[in-house]
């Protein structure tokens, strides 16, 4: 039973990351592709959908992440493992704050322009490129913590 719960928590943690990283990567890819063509409708409508999904998935990540930490009986902060975890937690904190800015900016773009013009494409590209990069670093840190 505790086994099953633990596997479920881990699975949810991975699926949460799939939503966060897969979504950010997709929006980034579409914004890059559209930037060359001209239009930004696809990127914009995907971005708005992503922001909704993002905060749901982030909640799942936080709660399953902490749950994992508890179930593992994490080593202390003075160990090598603990240092990496501290780095990861700090990066998570920065990432969450940055994502708040990103979502608020997206909501502003949606509100101000009925249909976002091509002027917002560079912003999409930068914002989702940075989000993707930060999440990639977090995945690497998570793998190091899980198996390193």
């Amino acid at each position: 039973m505790a086994e099953t719960l633990h596997v479920a928590v881990r699975t949810l943690h991975v699926l949460g990351m799939v939503v966060l990283l897969g979504g950010a990567g997709t929006v980034w890819y579409v914004a890059r592709r559209d930037g060359r063509g001209g239009g930004s409708d696809t990127a914009s409508s995907l971005a708005t959908g992503y922001e909704w999904a993002f905060w749901g998935a982030l909640g799942v990540m936080v709660v399953t992440g902490v749950g994992n930490l508890g179930a593992l009986g994490a080593p202390g902060p003075e160990t090598r493992w603990g240092t990496i975890l501290l780095v990861k937690l700090a990066l998570v904190a920065v990432f969450v704050l940055g994502s708040l800015v990103r979502t608020v900016a997206i909501a502003r773009i949606d509100a101000e322009e009925g249909r976002p013009g091509p002027a917002s494409v560079p912003f999409y590209r930068r914002a989702y490129g940075a989000t993707t990069a930060a999440l990639l670093v977090l995945v690497v840190l998570a793998e190091v913590l899980a198996h390193g």
Partner: protein, 185 residues
């Protein structure tokens, strides 16, 4: 702002408050070495329920804080309304965070008649006061964080989405806005 965007903001800020609070607790708690002892005893399911409870409280409070008027006022640069309301919302969340679980734990005792009503009422009053003040403080901190994010986002968005411009555009464009947003979702 169109209704759809307000809903996205409420959803985002409510989620951010709980996630930020959790990370903001776990980080120093782990760094100080105390978390490793406390966390395993907490229980996964209990942790999930607690998080969900906090999220619902945060959602209700954020929605209450972020009325159309407060949002409009904030976007044109007035910070007083949102800070006042945000702190008050935080206080309510703090109070509910204490009372909800407490009620759940003591419901049986309360129904069977408490042994010392006056003593319990006193302890409850003191506890509620502390919880409200702590909630107020957190509400203030998170409102300031939210405001900072709004400021930075305003600068990050292209074609200088200034505050005055926002006001007029939001007023003029409002119907077209909500139409196209609704169409896209």
């Amino acid at each position: 702002m169109a209704e759809a965007d307000r809903r996205l903001l409420v959803w985002t800020l409510a989620s951010f408050h709980v996630a930020g609070l959790t990370v903001g607790f776990v980080l120093p708690a782990y760094a100080s070495g105390g978390l490793s002892d406390v966390l395993p005893e907490f229980g996964t399911v209990l942790g999930f329920l607690g998080y969900a409870y906090l999220w619902v409280l945060s959602f209700l409070a954020t929605r209450w804080v972020l009325t159309d008027e407060v949002l409009e006022a904030t976007l044109v640069g007035a910070v007083r309304p949102v800070i006042l309301r945000g702190s008050a919302g935080g206080g309510l969340v703090g109070l509910a965070t204490l009372l909800g679980p407490l009620l759940l734990l003591t419901i049986q005792d309360l129904l069977s008649g408490p042994s010392n009503p006056a003593g319990i009422a006193l302890i409850l009053a003191i506890g509620s006061g502390i919880a409200t003040v702590v909630g107020l403080a957190f509400g203030l901190v998170f409102t300031l964080l939210d405001l900072t994010a709004v400021r930075i986002a305003g600068r990050a968005v292209p074609d200088g989405a200034g505050t005055e411009q926002t006001k007029t555009e939001a007023t003029v464009k409002s119907p077209a806005d909500s139409e196209s947003v609704g169409e896209r979702r």
